[in-house]
């Protein structure tokens, strides 16, 4: 059970190298570099702000900030999953021809996307200042939320990366699934907009508590409820356990099937 993490630790230098490589690969060859990473959420933000704040006149204070505080963690989540599905298939020759613990590859994807997420945070805080929202001490809770989210993202990415080796249509299926999932997560709308009887339904979505926690802390300088925190930690642990177990089932078939 812990082997998977011990091996990750043993290969930390390699993970670091691969993460650096991944990030450099993203920013290399374009003068705008980092800006490209920010452009994507910015465009989304602009479009949703236009549709919801202007066209549909949803009454949410600082809609752009609200949107970004949920959107940025979502991008970390969804791009990790999406890129993670193919990570083992693409790194096939590393697994077939040299001994490389395969969990290194999805882990690198998750970490690289996490770093990307961190790099996009200044955008959010810049916007906060622009809108005149002063962030408060509740921000201190963000690292806890991130840690729990890291467990969730890593766990799920391990699951999809392992299963995709055998079931090759998982990546496209996941692509569609993530689109639905996005709309079912209170990112572009506040959870309070959902009718009360649907709200419990929203809580079936494991990403919901994370979005709430980010929004509360960043926008309203409030700690999310104890239940939300409990849910986040529980979800993180469960996802990680599931990831390790599923990865363990498939792991020894990678070299044969990739």
């Amino acid at each position: 059970m812990t082997t998977i993490f011990r091996e990750l630790f043993a290969y930390r230098v390699l993970i670091q190298t691969l993460v650096m490589r991944d990030l450099k690969g993203r920013y290399r060859g374009s003068a705008l570099g980092l800006l490209w990473t920010l452009l994507n959420p910015l465009l989304y933000m602009a479009i949703y702000a236009l549709v919801f704040s202007v066209y549909m006149r949803m009454e949410i204070e600082h809609y752009a900030v609200f949107l970004l505080s949920g959107l940025l963690p979502w991008i970390w989540f969804s791009s990790s999953l999406l890129m993670g599905t193919t990570s083992i298939i693409e790194g096939g020759s590393l697994i077939k021809k040299v001994f490389l613990p395969p969990q290194v590859l999805p882990t690198v994807t998750v970490i690289a996307n996490f770093v990307n997420f961190l790099l996009s945070l200044p955008l959010l805080f810049g916007l906060l200042l622009l809108f005149g929202v002063t962030p408060g001490w509740a921000l201190l809770v963000i690292p806890v939320v991130m840690t729990a989210q890291f467990a969730l993202v890593l766990g799920l990415t391990l699951v999809v990366s392992a299963t995709s080796v055998r079931y090759r249509d998982i990546p496209p299926i996941l692509g569609h699934l993530l689109t639905f999932w996005f709309f079912l997560t209170p990112i572009i709308y506040p959870i309070t907009q959902a009718p009360a009887r649907f709200r419990s339904l929203l809580f079936l979505n494991p990403v919901t508590p994370f979005c709430l926690a980010y929004q509360e802390a960043i926008l309203y300088n409030k700690l999310a409820s104890f239940e939300v925190f409990g849910a986040m930690i529980g979800i993180g642990v469960c996802a990680l356990v599931a990831g390790v177990v599923v990865f363990g089932w498939f792991r020894w078939s990678f070299a044969e099937e990739v």
Binding site: L14, L94, V165
Partner: protein
């Protein structure tokens, strides 16, 4: 000191009928329709109860036919596969070169892959930086080191893989048939490196079909067959046994193939085809080539004797029958042909059934596959039963001479000495 120890290792693979993977869709549809896939054994045994030990400083060669489990064994030793049963322990840092291309990420540049590969082989970043130039120079890739590896030719990536692996200074090196690529100059460099490794008491396990190289490098040779260890020991002895087994196998295969063709021919005994024609007053029922020992065989060494035996049946007695044979090269060139008439034989009364045999005292042919034609016809050429292009046999030779036929010869060299 024992550095590699394998105890009773077995490995099964899932049979991958079309592709190794499936789709959620298929799995779902199969589940909904409760479709069961035909219950044939979905696995096959790649290795069966292998045990071996390798001591430090030994160079061990693995030989065997394709699919005998050589590569699987190396992958198990490297830790890429896990054995289904048995125990493997490897002591020391391992460097492995498995098949072509080594372990590279195709999207990454050569430079990046050197770092990744180096770390996987147990080097620190500093070690790699120190050796970087040497690695690139050895691989002769100075110009392309920043190009993605997917743009490399197989020779280039093999060179890079070999270079990283040897510069990582592993204690144990596994090499799987990689020396087959690369040009002569690079092969030479590899051989020097391997020699250097041997000199420094490192351990090497080498898979190759190049039996000459195996004999030259190894202290010990292991011969794998169908996943089991068939023989191990001194290179010369094991390689000879292996060669013999291949020849025997080929001979047996050729006899089986001949019989298959024969039964096909006689199933349509009366059909007129491009390969068999004639009015069948005399029918040739079967054709066999036999060694002088009487053993049926379709593989001969150049210069060996053979007997061609035709079994005939007379349907309507004729007085002017001639039996003939012809040997053609694969490309249709007639190497030799003769018949009983040309050789001035007058045939006795053939009876109802019998055998005609011609003894070819020396098959002085070059290495290759030849076609044997046989016929029964009238003196004027009117065909009774003509078999054309149906039977084949192989000739093997250790000599490198060329042409169609080896003409018996002898050299005489007489320098004219100046009188001093």
């Amino acid at each position: 000191m024992v550095v590699v120890e394998v105890e009773g290792v077995s490995k099964r693979f899932r049979r991958q009928t079309v592709q190794p993977f499936t789709t959620v869709k298929t799995a779902f549809v199969d589940f909904v329709l409760r479709r069961q896939h035909p219950e044939r054994d979905p696995t096959y045994q790649a290795l069966r109860d292998i045990s071996l030990t390798v001591r430090q400083g030994e160079v061990v060669g693995l030989i065997g036919r394709n699919g005998s489990g050589k590569s699987t064994l190396l992958r198990l030793l490297t830790g890429i596969y896990r054995p289904d049963s048995g125990k493997i322990s490897v002591h020391g840092r391992v460097g492995a070169l498995l098949e072509l291309g080594a372990g590279f990420h195709p999207e990454f540049s050569g430079r990046e892959n050197i770092f990744i590969n180096g770390i996987v082989l147990g080097l620190s970043k500093r070690d790699i930086r120190q050796r970087f130039d040497a690695i690139v120079r050895f691989a002769e890739l100075e110009e392309f080191i920043d190009e993605p590896v997917k743009t490399y030719s197989s020779g280039m990536s093999t060179r890079l893989g070999f270079s990283v692996a040897v510069h990582a200074e592993p204690d144990i090196l596994f090499i799987d048939e990689v020396l087959a690529v690369g040009d002569e100059a690079f092969r030479q460099k590899c051989f020097e490196k391997i020699d250097d490794f041997r000199g420094r008491n490192k351990t090497i396990i080498l898979v190759s079909h190049d039996l000459g190289a195996i004999e030259r490098w190894c202290n010990e040779v292991l011969w794998l067959e169908e996943g089991t260890l068939r023989e191990r020991g001194m290179p010369r002895r094991v390689i000879d046994l292996y060669r013999q087994s291949i020849t025997t196998q080929q001979a047996a295969d050729s006899v089986a193939e001949h019989h298959r063709i024969e039964s096909e021919v006689y199933q349509n005994a009366t059909a007129e085809t491009g390969q068999r024609w004639g009015s069948r007053e005399i029918e040739i029922l079967s054709v066999a080539m036999r060694h002088t020992s009487g053993q049926e065989s379709y593989v001969y060494l150049s210069g060996e004797a053979t007997r061609v035996v035709m079994h005939y049946r007379v349907h309507r007695p004729v007085s002017n029958a001639v039996f003939g044979i012809a040997i053609l090269r694969g490309d249709g060139i007639l190497c030799y042909g003769t018949n009983t008439d040309i050789d001035g034989l007058s045939l006795p009364d053939l009876g109802d059934e019998g055998e005609v045999e011609i003894c070819l005292e020396r098959l002085d042919l070059m290495t290759g596959t030849y076609v044997l034609d046989v016929a029964a016809h009238a003196v004027d050429g009117y065909p009774y039963d003509y078999h054309h292009g149906l039977y084949s046999f192989a000739v093997k030779s250790d000599l490198q001479d060329s042409g169609i036929s080896r003409i018996p010869h002898a050299w005489v060299i007489k320098p004219f000495m100046a009188v001093s």
